[in-house]
């Protein structure tokens, strides 16, 4: 009974401390909230981007006797006026390079595409220096890069058509068929049409594209919302970090009591010293457990985090509580005063949190293998593994290894710490 009395007293004191509440609940929610507001719009699938203003100067014209129906310049120009790009590219024609440059200087356009005079004829005649010029506002980065890529694709299409023509000619000759030069423009146009349709399909109808990029699935109920997935991991990282902090900070109450003189006074009462220590351990355990539950509910309500299956959540949370309490007891058992405790907890837990991957949960492509290997020796790393699996919808059976490892680590650290405390106080 006295164990619970001591635990209840410690819990009352913890929940009356603005600092403790701040570090237990407010700080992790605030940090997660900052990330939510910083990245929420970009990750929500509602991509909004200012339209790229493109000025096109097309001086390419075919001679009257040309075998081609359409100049290459017009093919490139038409890419910027195509209906499929109108939501993000606003194109305008300019008569000459000077007027396009002037519009660029006045920031009426962000990028100017200059297609030189007689580009088609000069290109097909093999002239080396003929080129399409892309001039951009130096303050812009994304828009000019896109336009540059589009021009490159257009020119690649033309080059591709040349290769197509050469291949057809060679194949015909190899089969003893004399090619009809009058048919060549038709072949090139056919290739051009195919290439244009292919590009449209690739960028605007990904499901019809030749190359379909599929992200590897890590669980059966992986959320389709990238924001929810990111917030889940972020919230888990913050929750783990601050759970470990709370474990240490709550355990520091024993040092606080030592300094306040109440620990010595407790020892003068007919209360066994082991019971006094147990009461303090129970308080830390309950505090970390309640903190985890509050943060999970808050994460669900505030950021829409889908934590996963109930049994898996219970396992991940239990592992977190054991590991956080164990490490807290162990760290504080080496500390002599509350003044020492602050830096030890702050520095030690930040370093372990970093090594455990708590601050890099959302790095695209993950961290290097060597870094992940270090996480296998850190309690926070295993707790994070458990939460990753839970967030990915893994079943309880899949969580057994992280659960057992975190609980085992917690018990070992707790045992060492408790032994040190008993040696010091009991």
């Amino acid at each position: 009974m006295k164990i619970l009395d001591i635990a209840f007293k410690d819990l009352t004191r913890s929940f009356r401390s603005a600092f403790a509440i701040g570090m237990m609940v407010v700080a992790p929610l605030m940090l997660t909230g900052l990330i939510y507001f910083a990245f929420g719009n970009m990750s929500g699938g509602d991509v909004s981007m200012t339209a790229i203003q493109v000025g096109v100067v097309n001086a390419d014209q075919l001679p009257a006797d040309s075998a081609f129906e359409m100049p290459i310049g017009e093919i490139i120009r038409s890419m910027f006026f195509d209906e499929s790009v109108q939501s993000w590219i606003t194109a305008s024609d300019y008569a000459d390079e000077a007027s396009a440059r002037s519009a660029l200087d006045k920031q009426e356009i962000g990028v100017a595409v200059i297609i030189p005079h007689n580009f088609t004829e000069r290109y097909w005649s093999g002239e080396k220096d003929v080129q399409v010029l892309v001039i951009s506002d130096p303050t812009l980065s994304v828009g000019p890069a896109i336009v540059q890529d589009m021009v490159t694709m257009g020119v690649d299409a033309v080059a591709g058509s040349g290769i197509a023509r050469q291949t057809i000619m060679e194949r015909l000759e190899a089969n003893g068929i004399q090619p009809d030069p009058a048919q060549i423009p038709t072949w090139i146009e056919r290739y051009g049409n195919w290439y244009r349709d292919f590009q449209r399909a690739l960028f605007h109808n990904p499901d019809k594209a030749a190359l379909v990029v599929v992200a590897p699935s890590t669980g059966e109920t992986e959320t389709a919302d990238p924001l929810a997935r990111m917030m889940g991991l972020t919230m888990a990282g913050q929750m783990i970090f601050f759970a470990f902090f709370t474990g240490g900070n709550s355990m520091m109450s024993i040092l606080q009591e030592h300094e306040e003189g109440t620990l010595a006074r407790l020892f003068t009462t007919p209360t066994d010293r082991t019971k006094i220590l147990m009461g303090k351990f129970v308080a830390v355990f309950i505090t970390v457990l309640l903190q985890g539950m509050v943060l999970m509910i808050a994460g669900r309500l505030a950021f829409g985090v889908q934590w996963g299956k109930p049994v898996s959540i219970a396992l991940a949370l239990t592992g977190q509580v054991f590991a956080a309490v164990g490490l807290g007891v162990l760290l504080i058992s080496f500390v002599k005063s509350t003044k020492q405790g602050g830096p030890v907890l702050g520095g030690g837990l930040t370093m372990l949190g970093m090594l455990g991957g708590l601050f890099t949960v959302n790095i695209p492509g993950g961290m290097p293998e060597a870094f992940n290997a270090i996480g296998n020796f850190i309690p926070q790393g295993w707790v994070l593994k458990g939460w990753r699996m839970t967030l990915d919808g893994s079943a309880a059976g899949d969580l057994l290894i992280p659960f057992l490892v975190t609980v085992a680590m917690g018990i070992v650290m707790f045992a060492i710490g408790a032994m040190m405390f008993r040696k010091r106080y009991a």
């Binding site: 004191r13 401390s17 020892f267 007919p270």
Partner: protein
């Protein structure tokens, strides 16, 4: 005869330092026993062993017949300890503090509630019981500090210098509290380095110095140890060293000690010795700025026994 407090050859060493050396004393039930001595005399170490905070190196102590070594729980159940410093939870109210400490002494339910109410009345804080202790004045905290040790109605209460650093009004309140508790039959072990507190409160006094009990007895018994000697306090306009050796050799001076320009001497007959002291001072070109002649008291006893003033 069974004593409420019995200390038998108690010793405590910290490495080479012998903090308490072979201390022995007793207190009968219902009496006030004071441990008097300067800072570092071993008073706090002695009561730390009696209250179960420190394990004795050797010897034993008994509270109501229960050995603090063999039956610590039973000894503690009969004992209330008022620490020298405030040992309370500042972020809990006065009532919450008392309820918690009551539970630690095994009180529960209605008995706990009624006892907390009683103690709040005794310490005069019933109207402030819901306020956090951290907001209290020093004197009010002291009262709660004492109240927490009274909850289980202990047969013996140990008070470790409870009046250090508080205002005269709170000091008076605490001394009156001690008397009141004693009148109700409680045995009090009171440590202090204020000889007037020991003189006012105690049935018996144990004087400690350098870890040893150097005298034990009632106030009158201790004073008799000094005999007919008188204590003289002299203040000088310069450092005492200039004249101290001359005074030490003066006929009729039995003990002499100096600190911060103030000299305390134990003399056989002040009427005959004082002129000799003035002569010696004049020869050493030292001017005496004040003289205070006192009848023998506990400080005189300490000076007689140790050659040093109690304030040292």
């Amino acid at each position: 005869m069974s004593f409420a407090i019995e200390v038998k050859n108690l010793k405590k060493s910290f490495g080479d330092l012998q903090a308490v050396q072979d201390a022995s004393f007793q207190a009968e039930a219902g009496e006030v026993l004071s441990l008097l001595g300067p800072n570092g005399a071993g008073k706090s170490t002695t009561i730390s062993m009696l209250s179960g905070l420190l394990a004795p190196t050797s010897g034993d102590g008994c509270i109501m017949g229960h050995s603090v070594i063999r039956e610590p729980e039973a000894a503690k159940a009969n004992l209330g300890v008022v620490p020298q410093d405030i040992a309370l939870y500042p972020d809990l109210s006065a009532r919450e503090n008392l309820v918690f400490w009551g539970k630690m002494y095994g009180l529960r339910g209605a008995a706990l509630k009624s006892r907390v109410d009683e103690v709040l009345e005794i310490i005069g804080l019933a109207d402030r019981q819901k306020d956090h202790v951290g907001k209290f004045s020093g004197g009010m905290k002291r009262r709660v500090n004492i109240g927490a040790a009274l909850l289980h109605k202990p047969a013996v209460i140990i008070m470790d210098e409870p009046t250090v650093g508080i205002d005269p009004q709170s000091r008076r309140h605490i001394l009156d509290n001690v008397k009141e508790l004693n009148q109700k039959g409680m045995t009090v072990l009171y440590t202090t380095h204020y000889m007037e507190e020991a003189a006012e409160l105690s049935n018996h006094i144990a004087i400690m110095d350098k870890g040893k009990v150097i005298a034990y007895g009632s106030h009158d018994e201790l004073i008799k140890m000094v005999g007919e000697q008188t204590r003289i306090d002299v203040t000088l306009n310069t450092e005492a060293e200039k004249v101290l050796s001359a005074w030490r050799a003066t006929e009729g001076v039995s003990k002499i000690d100096a600190l911060d320009g103030k000299v305390t001497a134990l003399v056989d007959d002040s009427n005959r010795v004082l002129p000799r002291l003035f002569d010696a001072a004049a020869k050493a070109s030292v001017r005496i700025t004040s003289v205070d002649i006192q009848e023998p008291n506990l400080e005189t006893v300490f000076l007689h026994l140790t050659g040093r003033a109690l304030r040292d």
